[in-house]
Symmetry: C2
Subunit: 465 residues, 2 copies
């Protein structure tokens, strides 16, 4: 299956052929994390933990099951999730007095406890996160990593003295995201969702969206400003310096296993996955190219090379299977290992190693001496290349229009006056979703594509995955 | 509350006072992992991952929800769990066609997929594990870490060509356990459960039990030999060298958050927790003892000390809060930090640092020069002391008897002929559970405490937590 011909089929096939997931589990939308897929997810989680720990967030873990009465406290929130939660109604043979639901997200599990944890201004800001499984009863067609019913994700939840401090947190989230996305080589847009599309209970929602090769957008996560919409029903208050009790202001930030979906979709090619070095469980594979009579020398040299890279902190694997080198190349290309080192008798004699980059199959020679530093540099170059290529592709997949006729299968930018009426009309006419407006002023000048009013607000519309 | 006076109350109080858990979540037996408790659990998980990865196990992650029909395939297994699982019956407002249960353990989630993963003898042994949350509807009184309804645990699942290879795995599990328990400073017994107490579906079950200070036993985990009891109903077969298809033989090994319960219960004292260095998220706390006029010198010196230890890979924290040193000592003793370093003007002048061990409050001086190596040595000594103390306590809490009258509140060892009839009689007469027989031949010679027949098999009976 060719990526350019049928992206969707290519994606479904590649995640299985590369052993990222097993979709044969007998519950729809609940897939098995294979050893390889789970290693990549854990590498992503490690990036997230590093970033959240460094910015003063404490990792916690709240119960999975939420009692119905706690869930119902914030009215908008329950309306938003009513039809997509799984309900536990029985324990053993006994019906439960209070039904329990599997968390679709943890506001309603955490906030009753936050109201006990937050006492005074000295407790604030209180910044927590957890990395857990979450559940949504998706009725649309499921797709590995992208639309599943058991979702691996992280969610950070913060409490602040006031709206302004919560806003500072949102800006810190943007900075964290920028560093993380660079590691994952993923370009993205930060788009403020429309009023009718924001998270149930939020004052505003900023979606983190990327564009896939076939022009549809994929939401990777979101950042929400809650103000005191949750702290009031859940009674999360602090005593200020002045002895007054006030409700905290809250934010959340979350991203899911969709990150793997985006990495596969954006970087992969017809030969298989292409993994960013920070995410790859194997960053470098060493393939000894054995020749008759020199087997021992080459093996020894390849092993020394491997352990030298290992000591330098590079995630390296040596492939000593008794099969042709070509078959090995095929396997590791499918698995997306960013860099392959070939070492044969000729290389040894010349004091070099042959490097093959996965994403462009460029072949270069590097000196055997001081190779660890060289490899580290190459891995950084690869990451920069992947991000540059992906950013260029996203730009190429974005067009600005001033009419909604004959729209291409791309991310569309156009003018919008900001009224809900014109917004819905744009969605109807374009047969697309309005995914939001950029968070920063871009100096845009145009006209609402429906009513013709001058506007400084562009809006993005797209077919969303 | 004094540990010696009311162990049970002391335990309940200490886990909350030390902020290991929050029991105020509104579902019984489902507690919140606080930042401090979760750090300790993650340190334990890290030990487990290191051990399992090093012995060739692949980490995976299977779905939480198991369809009723898959669960029912092994008849003994479902009988054993029927009354203690949580059932998901609805998704949104829709009743599910096939009910789903929350995994109490993952045999029935994994084995339908194992039957797809295992093809030939070249795939064997297949060794996997996962670290996940699991659910049991406990009807007995709940207790933090020890008896909860959402349980954090690891489970390894292995497939082998035959019974003998599965037996080799069981022996490897014993070795892994021995290394792990040394890190956690936990003494334990390996006891083969009676036929009527083994895991539903197992050929035999070896319980991993420890003895708590009040003489009750706590099961930390278990190791099971399944032979082909599961591979037959789940059809897990491989093609041998000879072209024949055979069912695999399977084992499992698992331990839960009870490990934290045991660490708290066994090592803690009236001042709080006492954490083994390998488990402590803070291994060393540095407390600057400031004197008038020398504040800057002491602070500077304390910070240098801290960063030197940090660079040496020691998990160190400097407490620079503006409160009395005594108040700091109190806090860190409650939190169980294994080693405290005090540094004041006098220490600096003498070129020393004052060391205070948490478990014995012994005070010693060490040279400031080369301190990182010295501290590493002291942490190892502390771990050895903790294990030695705990082992001595377990021995003191174990008695061998030849009559079941006036039994003390301890772990009891006595003779048993091996018959089920005498077994049940021993349980009735002693008002205790028979927790099993030692896995190794101890050269025991005695008589069945009921029928008087000579026997070489001792049996352990106890009140189990």
């Amino acid at each position: 299956m060719k990526k350019a011909e049928d992206f969707s089929e290519w994606y479904n096939e590649i995640v299985e052929r590369a052993s990222l997931t097993d979709k044969r589990y007998p519950v729809k939308g609940m897939n098995v994390w294979t050893p390889y897929g789970w290693k990549i997810m854990r590498a992503i989680d490690a990036c997230i933990r590093e970033e959240l720990d460094a910015t003063g967030h404490d990792e916690v873990c709240f119960p999975l099951l939420i009692p119905e009465d706690q869930f119902a406290k914030e009215k908008e929130h329950i309306k938003g999730f009513d039809e997509e939660v799984f309900w536990v109604t029985h324990a053993g043979l006994t019906p439960l007095d209070v039904k329990l639901l599997l968390r679709p997200t943890s506001e309603t599990a955490m906030y009753p406890i936050f109201s006990l944890w937050v006492r005074s201004h000295a407790d604030l800001p209180m910044k927590t996160y957890q990395i857990v499984n979450t559940f949504r009863y998706e009725t649309k067609q499921t797709r590995a990593f992208i639309r599943v019913r058991e979702i691996h994700f992280f969610e950070s939840h913060t409490c602040h003295v006031d709206y302004e401090d919560a806003e500072r947190q949102v800006r810190q989230d943007y900075e964290m995201l920028s560093r993380l996305a660079r590691k994952w080589c993923l370009p993205y847009l930060l788009l403020k969702r429309t009023e009718w599309d924001k998270f149930p209970g939020a004052v505003y929602t900023v979606g983190i969206d990327t564009v896939l090769p076939h022009g549809k957008t994929l939401q990777l996560g979101s950042i929400h400003q809650y103000r005191d919409n949750f702290s009031k029903p859940y009674d999360i208050k602090y005593e200020g310096n002045d002895g007054e009790h006030r409700h905290v202001h809250q934010t959340t930030f979350g991203m899911s296993e969709r990150l793997i979906g985006a990495i596969v979709a954006i970087h992969g090619d017809d030969k298989g996955l292409v993994l960013p070095p920070d995410v790859a469980s194997i960053q470098v594979v060493v393939v000894p190219v054995l020749a008759k009579g020199a087997t021992d020398t080459v093996s020894k040299s390849a092993r020394e090379l491997t352990s030298e890279l290992e000591s330098a902190g590079i995630r390296v694997h040596i492939d000593e299977r008794d099969i042709r080198p070509g078959a090995k190349y095929y396997d590791w290309e499918l698995k997306g290992v960013p860099l392959r080192l070939e070492i044969g008798m000729k290389d040894i004699e010349k004091g070099v190693v042959t490097l093959v980059r996965r994403h462009c199959t460029e072949k270069t020679l590097v000196d055997r001496k001081g190779i660890a530093d060289a490899i580290r540099g190459v891995l950084e170059e690869i990451a920069a290349d992947l991000l540059a290529d992906a950013s260029a592709a996203m730009n190429a997949n974005t067009v600005t229009v001033d009419s909604l006729e004959d729209l291409p299968d791309k991310l569309i930018k156009t003018g919008w006056c900001g009224s809900e009426e014109c917004g819905h009309r744009i969605e109807d006419l374009s047969e697309r979703d309005m995914i939001g407006t950029p968070i920063a002023d871009e100096g845009y000048k145009g006209m609402c594509v429906v009513c013709g009013k001058p506007t400084t607000t562009p809006v993005f519309i797209a077919k969303a995955m």
